[in-house]
């Protein structure tokens, strides 16, 4: 028996670079690249629109496959394996658990070109990372809360905490809210109450993506803490539901919301004025850039990748003043993606 020995990451990166160099001499005619998300969400449908749009655009022109694994790690592994078997040229993936997915990522790197998006796997043999730091985005969201709400009880709602980006985002929020000096390696246990800087973070609630449950969580926490001052929903629907619950319970202005992502109701509420603002990433950009970079690789072009291997697409804060413009732009992009399909 021979167990699959994984060549070290460095070797695999070298291997991929050799392949790219070879493409320089003989560019791939019409590359086939894939974009793999870490789950199913609106965020990813926007990214998909970006990826598809990139594939259709004249200067890029390649085949694009987009996969949304709905069943966690095992599902993502299966999809990656199947894509590699299919003979895909390059894959941009948002790894669910980067520290433990070394083998499958190496396997991808062995047969195809690997980049990551949204959440990074620095130890894996990926050629570059496209996205932003979730810790930094969390910081932005925390600061948003700190500006809009000067102390009191705070509750955090998030789909689940297992994935790396969720943990970092949550930690960023806490550090930003409490005004600590940023340190991405810090970790506050989700089960402990934090009393600091005039804020009481009463807890973090997860729902495993069951929205009825997510809504019940917010309602129950508001009942348990009638004096709740600030909530944050760190996944898109958590914020959307927080808006819903605030409206249904007439808590506008009494409970503040520092939101995340670009849910339609959230943007509408920001325009109305009872939500502090929202931190948005640029999923469209993730999708578009991923395809653009992979396509360039297949033509033997490595120039898009900066020295540190990180193509940064920073998060933005949307407040009342820029909400309208942002929304229009987003709608147009999604529409373009749909038409392209």
């Amino acid at each position: 028996a021979s167990s699959a020995t994984n060549p070290v990451a460095g070797d695999l990166i070298a291997l991929q670079k050799e392949r790219i160099a070879a493409y320089k001499a003989a560019p791939k005619k019409r590359p086939h690249v894939a974009f793999v998300s870490n789950g199913v969400a609106d965020f990813w449908t926007i990214a998909k629109a970006g990826a598809i749009a990139a594939g259709k655009s004249k200067e890029i022109d390649c085949d694009v496959t987009v996969e949304f694994p709905g069943g966690g790690l095992g599902d993502q592994k299966r999809m990656l394996e199947d894509l590699v078997i299919k003979g895909i040229d390059g894959i941009s993936v948002s790894p669910i658990d980067p520290t433990n997915q070394a083998e499958v990522l190496s396997m991808v790197a062995e047969k195809a070109l690997l980049i990551t998006n949204d959440s990074d796997a620095p130890k894996a043999p990926r050629l570059c990372y496209i996205g932003m730091d979730n810790y930094d985005a969390g910081l932005l969201c925390g600061k948003l809360g700190r500006e809009g709400c000067k102390g009191g009880k705070v509750a955090i709602f998030i789909g689940r905490l297992e994935q790396d980006n969720a943990k970092r985002r949550r930690q960023g929020f806490i550090d930003g809210l409490l005004g600590r000096t940023p340190d991405a390696t810090r970790y506050d246990e989700p089960n402990t109450v934090i009393n600091e800087a005039g804020y009481t973070i009463v807890g973090t609630w997860t729902d495993s993506f069951d929205r009825a449950k997510a809504k019940a969580n917010i309602e129950d926490v508001m009942i348990k803490n009638p004096d709740l001052a600030l909530v944050t929903g760190l996944f898109e629907y958590n914020s959307t539901l927080a808006v819903e619950v605030i409206k249904q319970n007439n808590k506008q202005g009494k409970v503040q919301l520092a939101a995340f992502d670009e849910g339609a109701d959230v943007i509408a509420a920001i325009k109305e004025g009872f939500v502090l603002g929202t931190v948005v990433q640029d999923p469209y950009g993730y999708g578009f850039e991923s395809v653009k970079v992979l396509n360039a690789f297949c033509k033997g072009d490595m120039s898009l990748v900066p020295a540190n291997g990180i193509i940064s697409i920073p998060a933005k804060v949307i407040k009342k003043e820029n909400a309208e413009a942002f929304w229009k732009d987003l709608k147009a992009k999604i529409k373009a993606g749909k038409d392209a399909k």
Partner: protein, 329 residues
């Protein structure tokens, strides 16, 4: 009624615990939320009960909730239908799904588990495909329609507690189904069919039609429930909306005293089964358990509850046997 005693006991124990240890449990607003949730889930559980009574099972409830729940805002917002078009269409689709299940089960004699498992995969798949995995919501519109699920009626004398409108369909459906099963000819036929299909058939009961009908009713209620859920929640993601709801519905029915072998049901029991599950979930949050152990607590409490119920029943039966024997001499 006797069948329901067990779950009523469990419910009362949990209620007492909650009243003491869950912060603000007895506050009007909390009870109001609990009423809403119980009402919503009980619509699904009542549907499940009708199928369980026939000795069948419907695993597709959650997916039908998803499909109809997703379709409602999709038709209203994306396709710009009027509510008068959208709502009947969604309900008709749900009923049609039930009809397909019923026909496959009674005509082709396929196993209900298999048919509805395929349904579980299929309808969610359709919802995901239809919407391109994009979550669907009302975007702040249609508040008048959503009032079906969101309206609350003030009760004179109570300040904090207002009666949620969702209670109306719950009470109406529970009453209708309860009377149907115990007081009407068809209900009796359904019970007989569930326990001994051939006996019913030999007595001239149109068993195939009744079974089909119960699947139609179950899917229709799931579709109606899904619509109310989305009215309540406001938006949903096709890939996860309604996941596991069939298990909650079936669990509530079974807790409420329905036997999966068919022929037995207690509507009161089912309602208490639903309420137990909802109170349990609420208490876990209010009493400050972490949401990680929620599942563990629910599982453990239910298991202990039904085991205790069974032991008490046995003990009572033994005593009765002894007393009865003594009396008969």
């Amino acid at each position: 009624m006797k069948r329901a005693l067990g779950i009523i006991g469990i419910f009362v124990v949990i209620l007492i615990y909650s009243a003491f240890f869950a912060e603000n449990f007895l506050s009007g607003i909390n009870l109001m939320q609990l009423t809403t949730r119980t009402a919503l889930y009980s619509i699904l559980a009542l549907g499940a009960t009708l199928v369980i009574v026939t000795g069948g099972i419907d695993l597709s409830i959650g997916s039908v909730v998803c499909l109809s729940g997703i379709m409602t805002p999709w038709l209203l917002i994306e396709k710009e239908w009027t509510p008068w078009q959208a709502i009947p269409t969604v309900l008709a689709i749900a009923a049609f799904i039930g009809l397909c299940h019923g026909l496959l089960i009674t005509r082709l004699k396929l196993q209900p588990f298999l048919v509805t498992l395929c349904g579980l995969l299929l309808y969610r798949g359709i919802a995901r495909w239809m919407t391109g995995d994009q979550s669907q919501g009302f975007a702040g519109e249609f508040d008048d329609v959503r009032a079906i699920a969101l309206a609350k009626f003030t009760i004179p004398g109570l300040t904090d507690y207002r009666l949620p409108a969702t209670v109306i369909p719950m009470v109406v459906l529970a009453t209708v189904i309860g009377l149907f099963l115990s007081r009407t000819v068809w209900g009796r036929w359904l019970l007989a069919t569930g326990r001994n299909e051939s006996a019913a058939r030999y007595s001239g009961v149109p068993t195939a039609r009744l079974i089909t009908l119960s699947y139609v009713a179950c899917s229709l209620l799931a579709g109606f429930g899904g619509m109310l859920f989305i009215f309540d929640i406001g938006s949903a993601q096709p890939s996860d909306f309604g996941n596991f709801y069939e298990l909650y519905a079936i669990a509530a029915a079974v807790l409420g005293g329905c036997s999966l072998r068919g022929g037995e049901a207690s509507i009161v029991g089912v309602l208490f089964g639903v309420a137990t599950l909802r109170v349990l979930q609420n208490t876990i949050t209010l009493a400050g358990f972490s949401s990680q152990i929620e599942f563990a607590v629910v599982g453990a409490v239910l298991l202990i509850g039904v085991a205790a119920d069974e032991l008490i029943r046995r003990f009572a039966a033994r005593r009765l046997e002894r007393v009865g024997a003594a009396a008969s001499h």
